[in-house]
């Protein structure tokens, strides 16, 4: 598979992640109400919407952090609704977090090694770390790819914000997922870093199905194959970037409040 997300819909395009009628109530508040869409295999699908639209809650529902009160989530056609995060990871779904969620008191390399450990057979948990060759090789490869090799032995908590954001994505990639959920990967990044991260996400698609929450609309429009727009817990529009941008409902709910 080549890593170009801009291919026409020949290869790929099958539904990798399906969401149907997904809903959750928080004490009467309908945080996510009947949201449905499909993320095509190897493509970048973005979820946008104003603050409080329910984007992060949607991610929490899909990734097993919260149990939905209604609706379905499917991975490659298999129903995975309500599964715990560790079982979802085993099924090929990984995620990153909007608020950096690392092992701050552990070294950068160890953060990645732990995340890559699922690549090993279970009994490697009881053998010396050196025997987990695949996990160690994966951690090294990710250090290289994310420009963190020089920081391998630093504690994750001592990295700069930009480096921590990069490590956050690297950790999510370590398990070699097929579907990757990125929750505002560029949050708090400088312009240069944001552009680099955009290029990185683009390079991921193809091998990987990406579902992205992102505030930087320019980045979303240039990166995405498909955009889902949410407001007040509901999906108000979806389609290719150009179509979504022109949608009057989106203009009113989203761009209008800019």
């Amino acid at each position: 598979m080549t890593a170009s997300p801009l291919r026409t819909a020949t290869a790929g395009g099958a539904c990798a992640l399906g969401v149907r009628g997904l809903s959750v109530n928080f004490g009467g508040l309908q945080a996510v109400a009947g949201v449905g869409f499909e993320a095509a295999a190897g493509r970048i699908t973005s979820v946008i919407g104003p603050n409080g639209a329910g984007k992060s809650t949607l991610f929490n529902l899909i990734s097993g952090a919260i149990r939905p009160t209604g609706g379905r989530v499917t991975l490659d056609g298999a129903d995975v609704t309500g599964r715990s995060p560790d079982r979802l990871l085993a099924a090929g779904l990984a995620r990153s977090f909007q608020i950096t969620n690392l092992f701050f008191e552990l070294p950068v390399l160890e953060n990645l090694r732990i995340a890559a450990q699922v690549l090993e057979r279970p009994w490697h948990a009881l053998r010396p770390v050196g025997h987990s060759r695949r996990a160690l090789a994966k951690a090294d490869a990710l250090l290289e790819r994310f420009g963190l090799t020089a920081k391998a032995r630093e504690l994750a908590g001592n990295l700069s914000h930009g480096e921590q954001r990069r490590l956050e994505i690297a950790v999510a990639l370590a398990a070699e997922p097929r579907v990757l959920l990125l929750d505002e990967p560029t949050q708090g990044m400088s312009h240069g870093d944001t552009a680099d991260t955009g290029a990185l996400i683009r390079s991921l698609a193809g091998d990987l199905t990406v579902l992205l929450i992102e505030h930087d609309i320019g980045l979303v429009m240039s990166l995405s194959d498909h955009v889902v727009v949410m407001a007040q817990g509901r999906k108000i529009a979806e389609g290719p970037p150009a179509v979504v941008r022109a949608d009057p409902a989106v203009q009113a709910a989203y761009f209008g409040h800019g």
């Binding site: 560790d86 390399l109 732990i114 160690l136």
Partner: protein, 346 residues
């Protein structure tokens, strides 16, 4: 904190397996130094015919086993158990009953204590791991109180008097055997077991299993998203800690010839936590050093005044304030600093 173990983090691509082997972590050097000191002490005590201090040191090592089990939970996983004496006392009672009523066999007593500790740990772990943080601590405390009061009120277990008249036994290792009545032999046996426990547990804590515990301690919420079932890991380490405590407890009646409900009381659990914190959390050597230090202190100060608990309390507070990582933690920090200077020097 498993900082000690993380320093041995393998270095793929850069360091070959051989260079990994040759670099023993500073914490292990400390353990070796401690072992040498313990053997030196044994030689002197034997030469001067001082059985009292050998027995006291043996008791310190037995309680070090309990402290190590607390360290597995507190230092590596971040779980504060205030009821670890439950498993220690359980091991002691099971061992006493086996030795007195079944057969005077060391290995049978140890096996029975291990089994009892494992089963009780599984039950206790399932209950305690339903909750987190301070509630976990309170449940472990409550479980131990219930068990202690039950034993205290059970006539068949000797109630408040405990069980007395546990026979002294011969411990057989193939062609060799030693007598628990001989202070030096039994000290060396318990020292050997302590070293074995240290080596085995250090190995396990440095393997991916132990490092996942460190990840749970650092950020439990992220762990499930990396494919681990955190609950299972916490249950596994809880059962492991219960087994270690039960095995340590099983040695107690062999040393003292009796067991009493006090072994399960909060004072025993609390002392184990103090021992770990004074000695050095997350090092496994720390609990051993702490246990020897506090036992010696109790014995020395106890011979001057009945209020030795005040002294222990003050030492505990001072070490929490001035030695946040305990004695061994402070020593390791110094060793590592020196090591780094050595490396950067031309």
């Amino acid at each position: 904190m498993p900082e000690a173990t993380l320093r041995t983090l393998s270095d793929p691509g850069r360091a070959g397996p051989a260079s990994r082997l040759s670099r023993l972590a500073p914490v292990h050097w400390l353990a070796l130094a401690f072992l040498a000191a313990a053997l030196g002490f044994a030689a002197v005590a034997w030469a001067t015919g001082n059985g009292f201090y050998l027995r006291l040191a043996t008791e310190a090592l037995i309680f070090a086993g309990l402290a190590m089990s607390v360290d597995l939970l507190l230092g590596y996983t971040g779980l504060l158990s205030l009821g670890q004496a439950l498993y220690f006392g359980l091991g002691a009672y099971v061992s006493a009953l086996v030795l007195r009523d079944v057969a005077p066999s060391f290995w049978l007593a140890m096996a029975a204590a291990l089994l009892a500790g494992g089963v009780a740990g599984l039950i206790g772990g399932v209950i305690a791991n339903r909750v987190k943080g301070v509630y976990f601590a309170l449940i472990t405390f409550g479980l131990a109180q219930v068990a202690a009061k039950t034993v205290y009120n059970t006539r068949a277990l000797g109630a408040s008097d405990g069980l007395i008249g546990i026979p002294q036994i011969r411990v057989g290792f193939g062609p060799f055997s030693l007598d628990t009545a001989d202070p030096l032999s039994f000290f060396l046996l318990v020292l050997g077991l302590t070293v074995a426990a240290y080596a085995g547990l250090s190995y396990l804590m440095d393997a991916p299993f132990g490092r996942t515990l460190a990840a749970i301690r650092a950020n439990e919420k992220r762990v499930p998203f990396l494919g681990f079932n955190a609950w299972r890991y916490k249950l596994a380490v809880y059962v492991l800690a219960a087994c270690v405590a039960a095995l340590a407890g099983a040695l107690y009646p062999m040393l003292r010839g009796f067991v009493s409900p006090e072994l399960m009381f909060f004072e025993t659990s609390g002392n184990a936590v103090i021992t770990v914190i004074v000695g050095g959390v997350g090092t496994l050597v720390g609990p051993v050093v702490g246990s020897l230090l506090l036992t010696a202190l109790r014995s020395v100060v106890g011979s001057w005044t009945e209020h030795h608990l005040i002294v222990v309390g003050v030492i505990f507070m001072l070490s929490v304030i001035f030695l946040r990582k305990g004695l061994v933690g402070a020593l390791l920090a110094r060793l590592n600093r020196r090591g780094e200077q050595g490396r950067t020097a031309p």
